[in-house]
Symmetry: C2
Subunit: 251 residues, 2 copies
Amino acid sequence: MKQIESSKNEQIKQWKKLHKKRGREKANQFLIEGFHLVEEAVRAGIQMIAVIVTDEEVIPSSWNMDDRNIILTNDSVLKELSETDSPQGIIAVCTIPVEQKLSAEHGRYLLIDRVQDPGNIGTLIRTADAVGVDRVIVEKGSVDLYNSKVLRSSQGSIFHVPVIKGELSNWVDELKTAGVPVFGTSLQNASVYTAIQPSESFALILGNEGEGVQTDLLDKTDQNLYIPIHGKAESLNVAIAAGILLYHLRT
Amino acid sequence: MKQIESSKNEQIKQWKKLHKKRGREKANQFLIEGFHLVEEAVRAGIQMIAVIVTDEEVIPSSWNMDDRNIILTNDSVLKELSETDSPQGIIAVCTIPVEQKLSAEHGRYLLIDRVQDPGNIGTLIRTADAVGVDRVIVEKGSVDLYNSKVLRSSQGSIFHVPVIKGELSNWVDELKTAGVPVFGTSLQNASVYTAIQPSESFALILGNEGEGVQTDLLDKTDQNLYIPIHGKAESLNVAIAAGILLYHLRT
């Protein structure tokens, strides 16, 4: 076990760079905070470079943590490394896992087209996990998955479901070839979602908060769906829409 | 039309106090930002003390805005008054509307029990609006409804649906007396939500992010419901759960 007492420590300075996307990409590492998230990462077998704590007692022996990877520090150093207002006393430095190579096959898919808000992306992944989606495909150019807000709002689900980046246009083609029905979401030229029968195999595309799903993708789907708006709201939040549609398609 | 060029202006300093709950309560005023939200407030007949813009052209004549209430300013003053990183050029100072006195009667109700996150409260209100809920009742002691994050995530729905603060325990009693079936949400001793038939009159209670609905309330309901978790997620976000349940109960 090492001890770090100063926030000017070179190692702490290096790890602080992981707050930024560029720093994460360069080091191929990311930070997670809080007992729950670190535990989920341990269970998922995410490789940890270091676990930084203010009290070593918080680390359960069941984690089988190598003592050399544990760093004991004080509140002010931890606060320096934290991205939240009230740090929970534990931060882990993890290696970004190698993305799985997956091909289109029978199963449940959530396709995320250029969603911008990190909280929405995290909540989409958490919802997909809850409903038993097999794979989440995120359009290249979406917000970085190892952004702390994505991780926090995913509540660990990012370690449960395979989440990969890809070209949605190619994925739609391959899923259709594999016989997986692909549903877009759109307010125009769409069917009410309750008209669709639940199924064990489907792909659902959700889109950008302001613009929705790209027209090029909507043109390729088997069918596009909408959720009726009964009140005066103009639309639903993208993650709310995903929850309603996924639970309907699955149940 | 007035002009304000300095962020040291006394009026701007006073309005900045509306960023805090205490300031809002003292002045009985709140701030809203961005064209869309201000437009929703205008349509809802919310009383405006002032509309502060960097370009008077953004105010449509259809708003029938009294010229004396329009304040022209520069980007730096607007940024000072803004609570977002990228202000959209328009902020309105509004009077907090008098809360409607409502009694329990036939209709669709969403009851919110001690939800803490402002974004969740706003999204709950937006979702309730979309599904056509008639009234939202928020437990006293929940986050302030005129918090900027609540307003932003409600996307204007807070001006569409009556949202009132109250004692949920009394409301549950009164709703039951009025013949409105009341559903709690709980992972224990609950029925799967799909077992419930849609209806024109119901009340649904959603609870605190960590603790869920209080036991005292769960004991009083007609029935408690759960949403099955098929994957490894421990739970759903509270607003996602509300979306799934409300759309099921209504459809």
